[in-house]
Symmetry: C2
Subunit: 344 residues, 2 copies
Amino acid sequence: MFNEPEITKLETIGEFGLIKQLTQHIELKNNTLKGVGDDAAVINPTNGKVTLVSTDMLLEGIHFDLSYFPLKHLGYKVVSVNASDIYAMNGTPKQITVSLGISSKFSVEAIQEIYEGINLACEKYKIDIIGGDTTSSKQGLVISVTVIGEAAENEVVYRNGAMEYDLVCVTGDLGGAYAGFQLLEREKRVFINNPDLQPDLAGHDYILERQLKPEARKDIIEMFKALEIVPTSMIDVSDGLASEIFHLADQSKMGVTIYEEKIPIDATTYNMARELDLDPTLTALSGGEDYELLFTIKQSDYKKLENHPDFTVIGHVTKPDEGVNMISKGGQKHELKAQGWKAF
Amino acid sequence: MFNEPEITKLETIGEFGLIKQLTQHIELKNNTLKGVGDDAAVINPTNGKVTLVSTDMLLEGIHFDLSYFPLKHLGYKVVSVNASDIYAMNGTPKQITVSLGISSKFSVEAIQEIYEGINLACEKYKIDIIGGDTTSSKQGLVISVTVIGEAAENEVVYRNGAMEYDLVCVTGDLGGAYAGFQLLEREKRVFINNPDLQPDLAGHDYILERQLKPEARKDIIEMFKALEIVPTSMIDVSDGLASEIFHLADQSKMGVTIYEEKIPIDATTYNMARELDLDPTLTALSGGEDYELLFTIKQSDYKKLENHPDFTVIGHVTKPDEGVNMISKGGQKHELKAQGWKAF
């Protein structure tokens, strides 16, 4: 005897009922004086710190496919993606607002699952949920999050501070999220063609987690403090390494040269890329969604992180007229193209 | 000889090109250290003030109908709606982020029109645009705005401060936005049935403007300062007077009695409601989108605003066990129902 999963239609509890259910257990951990429940949230800024604000919107069918993206993971991911932007300023995320557009196909329990993921990520990154907007949608699921963080003014790291001879570094490894995405898409096609076949995802935990449950690099920001490093410029890898390097070069008015052989790519990413007939380097350059940090440091800071397993030096900053280049494994110089994420 | 209006397809300029076009002329007026162009915006909080945050999401087909809602007005409205939430805390809006989900049917010029409206409202309310997210949408237009404001901590007005005997006041007049909406819907039906008929909107400027170009009550907050009034509780009228009164009563743990004859309804609203077979009082109670301010003041403050044309005293705060009631024009007591806006 099995029980059917509980299904509560949204219309039975209404907008205010839903908001109450979703927000009743929120505990405020930060400098939030008033969270959900008034016209606006009220925050007491920490003396001497600046406020950081970033926002991201995820749309069903563009940023996620609910046929394989678990709702709880989606909630987790949207917080990670936003927190990552604050870490990329060398700051600490403190509050988020969460707006949901929900089509009538969703049950109350489905929305609660999204919120479970959101809550889990907020616990991990120590973020207060302070408000939002919940509305019906005729058009599938819409999630819009704004994150508010803080930093000491002299520790904020912008995209425009890279100087000639600085080292270009990246955390973790790249391309995994894109390899995971391509694997999920392949298995979806297999399933559509033959619904009796089970998806073959075994042994691919790492790249699946990179796609479905990305982590923002809170640990790196803490490490910077411990190692007494303030990067000269920084950005998170959301659109792909090539695009992010272009942003740093463009805003710093500098050139950048990176080395293909230095780009950190996990073996499982490499193998899956090969299996899918993708160039592993291109996967790292243009895949995106890795949420690692790309940053530049002064050469004099190199000693502080040279043997650290989380960091890889992949190149250096050059004069602006040298442009943005990659030296291939064969030693040739290739001009890099800004790819970014083609939104349209 | 007429020139065709200029149409640029979004794909010709791409995501980064679009963001550049939309944001290149932004001038920062407030305490914003860095606006658009990095992973996060950077704000320098004013010493001793608290930060206010609110967010609203508007979805095509739910909150607006592009068959009669001009894009420029839509941009203006989304800023007004958000600014209104900050004024409802007795605060001043300072910054907004704007996220757009855009389907491929929109041209660059169409998006620029939305931004023209956004810019116009930002000038009016003296708000900096500090960031956002621009993405394609398979689901029609999505606009998500987060507004950040500030206030002195001891001047923030919450929903929960109403005390027994306080006077319940409202600014401006109510029901106009809903009457305008119903008129637009009627003319749309006429047009669909007979596309040769021109919509009959002449003489209805006031209620159309209430619906299509609502103003947030910046002037009222300034007047409170000038009159040295700090309301005991406040909320903006977005869902309808009845729903907002319930919020104040519920959060203040009080009862409220209002008088039907006191509810301010403009003559044009009244006449249109009659023409459309709507009860004018119900239009004010449940229509919503007026973005007026509903607030309570101590009786001792009454003298300060009694002859002011912008304010109407519509009732008073009672003991909680008396509930939320309206005394009708005929003198009967009706228990009010929280109607709000049925989102699902």
